[in-house]
């Protein structure tokens, strides 16, 4: 792998950039791999990457129905934070955040991780209590967050209307380390690094069946032929139920469309990420200048990557109330992503009823921020066959035991 640097770019400029090599290979699938990962989104690619990096397992294929990074990795609002309430969540999201902090260097690919700070506005007394609780929990989890007063909120976000007549801002939960990253680059950076380790990323290759024998996985059938594998990791947000069905089990998951939109680009005006859960909206400004806005999830099962309109209206009117200056901006583009919603709205990293099949799913509306941590924990689960501490609480068995990981106290809104 030819390393990226400013010098490399300058060198190439002199020959009109004709000397760049492919970021990742486009190989033919082999007949067998030690591990097959289904899904070349951020989570699947990160799983493969850490299988190689942490466990030396490189005979790995990442199989992708469409194009890599083309699912939720490429259509989310890129928020990164780890200010979660419950211990297992805080652990895995903070692991992810730590890895994000060094990801550009680790991958030699600038993922533009931007720790610009993140605010979750408290606009009711109930939220004030909830966020103060989160601050205390984070304190003991080793996650640096703070409660800030309205004046400080206004200082960080000059365009905010602190004294809204309906929902004045009473303060905020602030995580200075939170921020955003360039979503595509995360997938591309991992893909390039996986490819450099000799892993095969096979795009345009839909999985049509999962073969098992004696209660364990044998391999998969794909649009490009049968592939055997020692272990199988299903990492396909949105389509987890479909793949689980191929392997013969059901998941506590429903697929739904999550809405997002961007405005036309304007000059920089908001240097932090703001989430306003009372009014169900969140907003940040991209490096291009677009206001990136996320909103609600449709309640109905949906595989269309389109969504309903009413959630866009709800989100936008709420954000106009909080940020009056956006009223005369224009929506440039709206889209939907299909997210896995679990029974407790927390993810699943788990062994399954079928031997050597593992699932990583259920990230709901918050998967992007978890990618490195999720891949790290999933790689450990797949490599060892049993979860390490990061994944231990996220097993499927929790639904039978009634042991839920409920973040709704801290996060009442999609993110």
């Amino acid at each position: 792998m030819k390393r990226y640097s400013v010098f490399a770019v300058a060198r190439e400029a002199l020959r009109w950039h004709t000397g760049w090599e492919r970021a990742w290979r486009s190989p033919q699938p082999k007949s067998r791999y030690d591990v097959v990962v289904i899904g070349a989104g951020g989570h699947g690619l990160a799983t493969a990457y850490y299988l190689g990096k942490n466990f030396g397992i490189t005979n790995v294929a990442v199989i992708e129905k469409g194009w890599l990074g083309g699912g939720n990795t490429g259509r989310n609002t890129t928020i990164i934070r780890s200010n979660y309430l419950q211990d297992p969540s805080a652990a895995i999201y903070d692991k992810a955040l730590q890895l994000y902090e060094g990801l550009s260097q680790d991958l030699n690919y600038n993922v533009m991780f931007s720790p610009r700070g993140l605010l979750m506005l408290a606009q009711t007394h109930h939220e004030v209590r909830g966020y103060k609780r989160t601050v205390h929990a984070n304190l003991l989890q080793g996650v640096a967050t703070e409660w800030i007063e309205p004046a400080k909120v206004k200082e960080l976000v000059p365009i905010i209307n602190i004294d809204g007549p309906r929902y004045p801002v009473l303060g905020a939960l602030y995580q200075a380390r939170g921020g955003t990253a360039r979503h595509d680059a995360v997938a591309w950076g991992y893909a390039r690094a996986c490819s450099a380790m000799g892993m095969d990323i096979i795009q345009q290759c839909e999985v049509t069946g999962i073969r098992t024998a004696n209660g364990a996985v044998q391999g998969i059938d794909t649009a490009r032929g049968a592939i055997d594998c020692g272990k199988l990791a299903i990492v396909v947000a949105g389509h987890s139920s479909v793949l689980a069905g191929m392997a013969g089990f059901r998941l506590p998951i429903e697929s739904m469309a999550l809405q997002a939109l961007v405005s036309e680009p304007i000059k920089p005006c908001m240097d932090v990420v703001v989430m306003a859960n009372t009014v169900h909206g969140y907003m940040s400004q991209s490096d291009k200048g677009e206001m990136v806005i996320g909103g609600g999830t449709d309640g109905f099962n949906n595989y269309t990557q389109r969504g309903s309109w009413q959630h866009v209206e709800e989100t936008v009117r709420a954000l106009i109330e909080t940020f009056p200056m956006i009223s005369r901006l224009k929506m440039l583009r709206q889209w939907g992503g299909i997210v896995d919603m679990t029974g407790d709205r927390s993810p699943i990293l788990s062994a399954t009823p079928v031997g050597n099949i593992f699932v990583n799913c259920g990230w709901g509306t918050g998967g992007f921020k978890a990618i490195p941590g999720s891949g790290w924990a999933m790689a450990e689960l797949v490599a060892k066959g049993t979860p390490g501490p990061l994944a231990a609480e996220f097993g499927l068995n929790r639904f039978r035991e009634g042991r839920f990981i409920d973040e709704s106290v801290a996060a009442g809104v999609a993110h």
Binding site: P252, E254, F300
Partner: protein, 117 residues
């Protein structure tokens, strides 16, 4: 923005007039039933990429619950019927089978006197 026709009052309502209730025809398990049964009732979902039977309430209208058979890929609604039934009407199942021969309706395969009518 979906539209669904409420079988109770006949209004073709848009999604914003309705409230969702998730997968329909779940059998409730309770005391005396196994952990596995209870888990399946509470959490395991078909979540099909295809025909889905789901509960809706005409919340801003007549307030009644009904069930829609809807494709989660095309969003086509094959039909709606009142929620006061344990299985989809036979004519609806027949209509779905005619339109979507590959749809998995195996849960409703067992013939019943109702189907025979």
């Amino acid at each position: 923005m979906l539209i669904l026709t409420c079988p109770h009052c006949g209004v073709t309502a848009e999604e914003t007039e309705l409230a969702l209730g998730g997968e329909a025809h779940l059998k409730r398990y309770g005391p005396g039933d196994s952990d596995e049964q209870f888990e399946a009732y509470m959490f395991a979902r078909k979540n099909p990429k295809g025909v889905h039977f789901e509960r809706w309430r005409h919340a801003y209208g007549c307030g009644k619950w009904f069930i829609a058979a809807r494709c989660t890929v095309t969003l086509e609604v094959f039909g709606t019927y009142p929620a006061q039934t344990a299985r989809p009407p036979a004519d609806l199942l027949a209509a779905i089978r005619a339109k979507r021969p590959s749809a998995d309706l195996s849960d409703w395969d067992a013939a019943t006197p109702e189907d025979a009518q």
